[in-house]
């Protein structure tokens, strides 16, 4: 029998497999017994400071050895003595050595600040008198204030290298390093420069982990005195990082990433950690505005509600409920989205409700519903650590989903094969084993090729196909009939690379797929999704750990908005609104009859408005004029409305043309839940009170519902969730009080248990269904590529979030100030364009100007830019072509041409009509 007992100060405890002595002590005796410095819970144990040393004997009071507890595995039969005289002396002597090389005035906490971790350890161990006569102070280290957020003062560095390890292990960035050797070794940034020039991506992992103020942030987050620390969920993307927000005197004092967060484990990105100051920006809207005689006038909430109720009732009476439409926001909570769709459906009486997933992941929802029965990620993000191969299609997670991106990069670096299918040489493509750099718009072609090569040369899981799926024969026949020569030409990717990648993916014991808007925002978006679903099924990569099809959700609550019924064809819980049984179910539940028949999708709303069929719209938290394609068309449509309500934080372009603007509260000022990309329903907690004059979106909707004569309980997430759990099947067991700090992944069963992996035994729809599609060229290129021979594709950057309305109002704008056009050197040479030249860019719809960067991130014939800044407004150029099943716009393929601009900044953006 193995001895599974070890002793701490002669008290026996059971040991756990794989545990270190430190883990063992902390688990049984708490964290205070053994001090540590170089150890951090989210970093690999390093064993450098030796402060955690303990004495270990093999019998009670037997001869003991001193061992560093952080990296020594505990064994049965150990007698561990964590605080003997010898150990206490050793710790004090080590502290004395550290202090011999540390500023005297930083031993104790600064006035009005909390102690640093090191200062706490000094106090716990006992402040020694430094007896070494020649202690050398590193006063020569100059403070570094070059970066808008991250500051350093390396005279306080104790060389535990937690920052370097965080930069490596958490962010896989390798900006921070160590130079020199022995006593002379020290932290370096990049090639020994300052933070701003070092290539730092500002994630702040070093700030959080540094046990002193050697690396800190502008907010002094670590040592800031807080009245409370409130855990909430980040608003900036579908990763759904948990944030610990420090609050004092009603203001945010800083944000850290909780180490026990299941999603982000002590890590987050610069948006989540640092870009929070928008909430108190002077630009915030603080009073309802009503347009009177062409100008906005401040109004009270009552005036605004009355005005809205009166106008909406008028329009409804005159033109019917279907002349009104609502757009809800993926930045809002589940509860708010639920209420908004309920308001539109029940109070207004129309299914004209849609949300921003229309412009992003609607094809994912549709395609995966067709194939599997559920339009959501099949697996959890932690499955990354169980996978043997990662396939990334049309996504740039190091920019748009930074924590996931950093993890994928770390895995690729450490040897997990990564396959990237993307027209851009994205950051992760550098680390990929295979980069299939296809021409934008050819995903269906390359995925067909990929599947064919799996069938022909790779490992096809015929057992899974036979037991779990239907429609294989047709797909197989289709694959065998493909003309590889033609597909190779279409994609522009060497078939050998595709073949090798396909073999690699299929050979892995478990292979995990991720995709983003590079798949969905295409004319053949939904088709490409089903092909991805096919590929996962034919290799048996569904329903098991480390596998699956996993959309990277763009906004923080895209998943939740769709779950809550913010779609014209499905109500809360994805039930089809045109089904009479469902209709009755909803009507009974809401106590008022709901409309049947599918409503308008966003592009259809614009068309209806232009035709005069749609008279009024209510838009929450979305700047359609900046983010929807073909701005001139959108502007026409919105201006053609009789009545437009916009609920916003800031005066956006869209708000500017509204009839009523309602000032909403930000995520820091409200409560509710967000559902992240892995179906995890997480709490959003109120961190600060709503800015005076603003109201949480949920409260606004509830109040207007009541004002328009429908009783809706006062907004509170607990009651709203209770209502949701009564109608959304996969929310059945969700209770506000039970969500805890890490939330739950849906489906949540009645007993409150969540679900890590979908489709383990059978698919939601019974059998998984193979779909068969051929590649078809987009109408955009067929119509315009002669006149506009270049392909523009768009995306996002790390520093800004979508329209940038929030991030541009933070110091992030010091890091990146404008949208830039990426041009391949060959094209740049042909057009006589150099780096930083101003370029005029035009399509059939519009034109704009922006600065050029000459780079091989794009292939010849392709240009790329982002859409974060109104100065560039790239959506003046984007097209009306959309996915044929979901109407998700084709942002990723735009026929354009460009030239060096003669007029500089003054010639755009604007409309054209070619």
């Amino acid at each position: 029998m193995m001895d599974i007992t070890a002793h701490i100060d002669d008290i026996p405890f059971e040991i756990k497999e794989g545990e270190t002595i430190l883990d063992f002590i902390r688990r049984n005796r708490g964290r205070d017994l053994v001090p540590t410095l170089c150890q951090a819970d989210n970093l690999i144990n390093y064993g450098s400071c030796r402060i955690c040393s303990v004495e270990v004997a093999l019998s009670k009071n037997g001869p003991a050895r001193v061992m560093a507890s952080c990296h020594t595995p505990v064994s049965g039969g150990y007698y561990i003595y964590p605080s003997t005289e010898r150990i206490r002396k050793l710790r004090k002597n080590i502290i004395e050595l550290i202090l011999s090389d540390y500023p005297d005035d930083k031993i104790h906490p600064q006035p009005g600040r909390l102690p640093t971790e090191f200062q706490k350890v000094i106090a716990a161990v006992g402040v020694p008198v430094v007896r070494y006569p020649e202690n050398r102070k590193r006063s020569e280290a100059q403070p570094d204030r070059s970066h808008p957020y991250i500051w350093s003062d390396l005279s306080e560095c104790i060389k535990c290298y937690r920052c370097v390890r965080a930069c490596d292990e958490l962010q896989s960035e390798h900006v921070l390093g160590i130079s020199g050797r022995g006593f002379e070794s020290r932290i370096i940034k990049g090639y020994d420069t300052d933070f701003i020039s070092s290539g730092c991506v500002s994630c702040g992992a070093c700030v959080q982990t540094c046990p002193t103020n050697a690396i800190s942030d502008r907010f002094g987050t670590k040592t800031a005195v807080a009245e409370k620390i409130i855990r909430t969920t980040c608003t900036y993307c579908g990763v759904g990082c948990n944030l610990d927000v420090k609050v004092a005197l009603g203001e945010v004092r800083g944000i850290e990433a909780p180490v026990d967060a299941a999603v982000n484990r002590g890590h987050t990105c610069l948006k989540g950690r640092f870009a929070f100051e928008f909430y108190k920006h002077p630009d915030r809207l603080t009073a309802p505005l009503i347009r009177r005689n062409g100008n906005f006038e401040k109004a009270t909430w009552d005036e605004a509600y009355d005005h809205i109720a009166q106008k909406l009732n008028e329009i409804k009476d005159k033109h019917g409920p279907d002349s009104i439409a609502g757009i809800s926001s993926a930045r809002c909570t589940n509860e708010e989205n639920y209420l908004m769709q309920k308001f539109i459906r029940v109070v207004i009486g129309t299914n004209n409700i849609d949300g921003c997933s229309r412009v992003c992941h609607a094809p994912t929802a549709m395609g995966m519903q067709w194939a599997y029965g559920t339009g959501a990620a099949t697996n959890s993000i932690d499955d990354l650590y169980k996978t043997g191969c990662i396939l990334l299609v049309g996504a740039n997670p190091t920019a748009a989903h930074p924590v996931t991106g950093a993890r994928i990069r770390a895995l690729a670096q450490s040897g997990i094969p990564l396959i990237v299918i993307d027209p851009l040489k994205i950051e992760l493509a550098r680390f990929a084993k295979y980069h299939l750099q296809n021409r934008p718009g050819t995903n269906v072609a390359i995925l067909n090729m990929f599947a064919r090569f799996i069938l022909e040369y790779g490992r096809t899981d015929f057992e899974f196909i036979a037991n779990r799926t239907e429609g294989w024969e047709e797909f197989e026949k289709h694959l065998r009939s493909l003309d590889i020569d033609e597909l190779e030409t279409v994609c522009g990717v060497d078939r050998e690379i595709v073949r090798a990648a396909a073999i690699e993916y299929s050979a892995a014991k478990a292979a995990m797929e991720f995709h983003g808007l590079g798949v969905t925002e295409h004319w053949q978006g939904t088709k490409a999704i089903t092909l991805i679903a096919n590929i996962a099924m034919m290799t048996g990569n569904i329903g098991k750990e480390g596998a699956g099809v996993n959309p990277l959700r763009g906004q923080n609550n895209v998943q939740g908005a769709a779950d809550m019924g913010v779609q014209p064809h499905q109500g809360a819980g994805y039930l089809p609104v045109d089904d009479p049984v469902v209709n009755k179910l909803y009507s009974d539940y809401y106590g008022k009859s709901v409309p049947s028949g599918t409503g308008y999708r966003i592009p259809e709303m614009f068309r209806a408005s232009e035709k005069g069929d749609l008279k009024a719209m209510w838009i929450i938290g979305e700047d359609l004029l900046q983010t929807d394609p073909n701005t001139c068309h959108v502007r026409n449509a919105l201006e053609n409305l009789e009545f437009l309500v916009v609920q916003e934080l800031f005066m956006t372009d869209t708000a500017r043309i509204a009839d009523v603007v309602l000032p909403a509260s930000s995520f820091l000022e409200k409560e509710g839940t967000f559902t992240n990309g892995e179906r995890r329903i997480q709490k959003v907690n109120r961190v600060v009170d709503p800015l005076p004059g603003t109201k949480p979106d949920g409260q606004i909707i509830t109040e207007i519902m009541n004002r328009m004569g429908f009783f809706q309980e006062e907004y509170h997430p607990a009651s709203a969730l209770r209502e949701i759990s009564g109608i959304v099947p996969f929310f059945k067991g969700v209770r506000w009080e039970e969500l805890g700090s890490n939330g739950k992944q849906w489906p949540v069963n009645e007993d409150g248990s969540g679900t890590l992996i979908l489709h383990t035994e059978s698919f939601k729809r019974g059998k998984g269904k193979f779909h068969v599609w051929d590649f078809e060229e987009t109408e955009e290129l067929l119509s315009y590529s002669e006149k506009f021979p270049y392909i523009l594709t768009t995306g996002r950057i790390l520093e800004h979030y979508n329209s940038g309305s929030m991030t541009r109002r933070t110091p992030n704008s010091q890091l990146v100030k404008e949208d830039i056009l990426f041009i391949h050197p060959v094209d740049a040479k042909r057009k006589g364009i150099s780096d930083n030249d101003t370029v005029s860019l035009f399509s059939a719809r519009g034109n704009t100007v922006m600065k050029a960067r000459i780079t091989d991130v794009v292939k010849p014939g392709v240009v790329y830019t982002t859409f974060h800044f109104p100065e560039a407004s790239i959506n003046y150029l984007t097209s009306g072509i959309a996915d044929e099943f979901t109407l998700t716009p084709e942002y990723k393929v735009v026929a354009v041409d460009f030239e060096k601009s003669l007029f500089g900044r003054f010639s755009g953006p604007g409309c054209r009509n070619d």
Binding site: I44, N45, Y46, G47, S48, C49, R50, I51, S53, V66, A68, H71, P73, R86, K89, L90, N93, I94, E96, L97, I98, S100, D101, R131, Y132, P133, E134, N135, I158, K159, Y161, R165, D168, E169, S172, E173, H174, V175, L176, G177, I178, S179, G180, R181, G182, F183, E184, S185, I188, K189, G190, Y191, D192, S198, G199, A410, Q413, S414, G415, R430
Partner: protein, 549 residues
């Protein structure tokens, strides 16, 4: 330290070794410049800081190293014998003070007259050095004298016909368990200093799962005072290669790497030549035993860092990471080079294997004692009348080694530091109580280590020697663990203050410092230094007490 960087380095493997690329970039003009750093960063996808971090670690790549025309050995034996001072005075006739650097140690402890120039080791034979032809200032070293008290030595004899020498592996290829049995019966213990059972290491590596495994010969154990590895590499390279091949055969590894100190340029050349000989003679694993994979050798030259003699530092160095000491477990046998199973052992250990396989494990064991089987190469420094390298049966009285083989010392010696800079300081009167084996040394509070013997002349100050040891440790500390990084520096400063300025040292502080380094250090560098210091304090209390309050 980084699994991510390790993975990125592994992509290019040993053929396009990141380490060698950084050394090449840095060798020309000191540390890798930013342009070459960027080229390396692009090729290996690592950070700029990762390149600079590595290139700034090694002596040979340091800025201070540039501009020096000649490097004098300042190893312990050259220091205690005064050889380095005499040599410097001679070289100053030709070079300026700032053109003369130091290097530790060139393995000429038997002659105490070596320096390095233009990538070669040269010696000064006492006659005036020619001026001003720097390239030929010195002379190539003469052969080291050898001797033995073992009837049929295991290590000294030349290989003879190579086909026959390696051919015996053929007989074991069908009887691997027979080979394993011989090695087990030999009781062979690692000759790198720790004396860990070779058989246990081999077994751990053999049973580790892995499609690829490595055999690494640690030829970077630069203990001043010992020149046994240098001699084996230069004079008997085939015995080392044979041992590595045999280890590959029994563990299933197909790659052997010799990481050789940059301070032994002639050894690098000799080993490379020996590997070439194997290729030209078609002595390959495929021909010797029917393995599918060819056993290939890589010879890697170090870039000047003593810590790379520590096994995990050496592996990190080979990977192109900063050669910091890793925490253990995991041990190299399961998580070694590129995270793969690796059997890493010392030069002399590998060199013993052929004798064991041909003469049998029992015969080998019988050369030594029950717990310290076999023989040990002993390096005697220039203070002896017959300095040189001697293969000595374990258990031989130390006095016998010194007198019968070394012919006694030329001048009065008050102590011997045996086993490298971390080995004990043995006062002359203790020599009679010691026998040459692991047990006798450790029972008496010393360390056999590499069995290099450095004599401390009667007039040489013990505190001066300790200052040198602290200075050496401080200079060579990798800087990872706090006790060694800070402690060695503070100890060096305390001794410097006492010796140079006559300041007194707080005895309690000094003892605390020794305790902290001994108990707290991550590896044997910081952890081992207190042993000779405590020996000195114990056996030379009068001399030492002048330094303390």
């Amino acid at each position: 330290m980084s699994r991510n960087l390790r993975g990125l380095s592994e992509r290019k493997g040993l053929k396009e070794s990141l380490f060698e690329e950084i050394v090449r970039a840095g060798a020309g003009d000191g540390r890798a410049g930013i342009e070459s750093a960027d080229a390396i960063r692009e090729k290996y996808l690592i950070g700029r800081s990762s390149v600079l971090g590595v290139s700034s670690f090694y002596d040979f790549l340091k800025k201070e190293h540039r501009g020096k025309k000649v490097f004098i050995c300042d190893g312990t034996a050259c220091l205690t014998s005064g050889g380095n001072i005499r040599l410097k005075q001679e070289l100053l006739k030709i070079y300026g003070e700032d053109e003369i650097g130091t290097v530790t140690c060139l393995g000429h402890c038997h002659s105490n007259n070596a320096f390095m120039q233009g990538g070669r080791t040269l010696v000064w034979d006492g006659s005036p050095l020619p001026v001003p032809e720097p390239e030929s200032a010195g002379k190539a070293a003469v052969k080291i004298r050898t001797g033995t008290n073992a009837g049929k030595p295991a290590l000294l004899n030349p290989p003879g016909d190579l086909k026959e020498y390696y051919g015996i592996l053929r007989t074991f290829c069908s009887d691997i368990s027979g080979a394993i049995g011989q090695i087990e019966r030999s009781g062979l213990r690692g000759r790198g200093g720790a004396g860990f059972s070779f058989s246990a290491k081999k077994q751990a590596s053999r049973s580790a799962l892995g499609t690829r495994k490595y055999i690494i010969c640690n030829a970077d154990e630069g203990d001043p005072g010992a020149f046994s590895d240098k001699w084996l590499l230069e004079e008997r390279p085939h015995s080392v290669l044979f041992g590595m091949m045999a280890a590959g055969m029994v563990t299933g590894a197909d790659t052997g790497i010799l990481y050789i100190r940059g301070e032994y340029p002639e050894a690098v050349t000799a080993v490379k030549n020996a590997v070439r000989e194997l290729v030209s003679e078609k002595i390959t694993s495929r021909n010797l035993w029917k393995c599918d994979k060819e056993f290939t050798f890589h010879v890697v030259e170090g870039a000047g860092a003593y810590i790379c003699g520590e096994e995990t530092s050496l592996i990190n160095s080979l990977e192109g990471l900063r050669p910091e000491v890793r925490t253990r477990p995991p041990y190299p046998a399961t998580y070694g080079l590129f995270g793969l199973p690796t059997l890493l052992s010392n030069v002399e250990t590998f060199a013993n294997i052929r004798y064991i396989l041909t003469e049998g494990g029992e015969a080998y064991a019988a050369l030594g004692t029950e717990k310290s089987p076999g023989t040990k190469l002993v390096s005697l420094d220039g203070a002896f009348n017959s300095p040189g390298l001697f293969e000595v049966r374990m258990g031989t009285p130390l006095r016998e080694v010194f007198e019968d083989l070394g012919g006694g010392t030329r001048y009065p010696v008050k102590a011997f530091q045996i086993g490298g800079p971390l080995g004990g300081i043995v006062p002359s009167e203790m020599v009679d109580r010691l026998t040459l084996d692991f047990e006798s040394f450790s029972a008496n509070g010393f360390l056999l280590g590499h069995a290099g013997v450095v004599s401390v002349p009667e007039e040489f100050s013990i505190s001066e020697l300790l200052w040198h040891l602290f200075e050496f440790t401080s200079r060579e500390s990798c800087g990872k663990c706090f006790p060694c990084r800070l402690g060695a520096k503070r100890g060096e400063e305390l001794l410097a203050g006492a010796i140079r300025e006559g300041r007194k040292i707080d005895r309690e502080l000094f003892n605390d410092l020794l305790d902290t380094m001994q108990l707290g250090s991550l590896c044997a560098l910081g952890g081992g230094l207190p042993l000779p210091v405590r020996n000195a304090m114990k056996y030379f209390p009068d001399e030492m007490s002048q330094m303390f309050y």
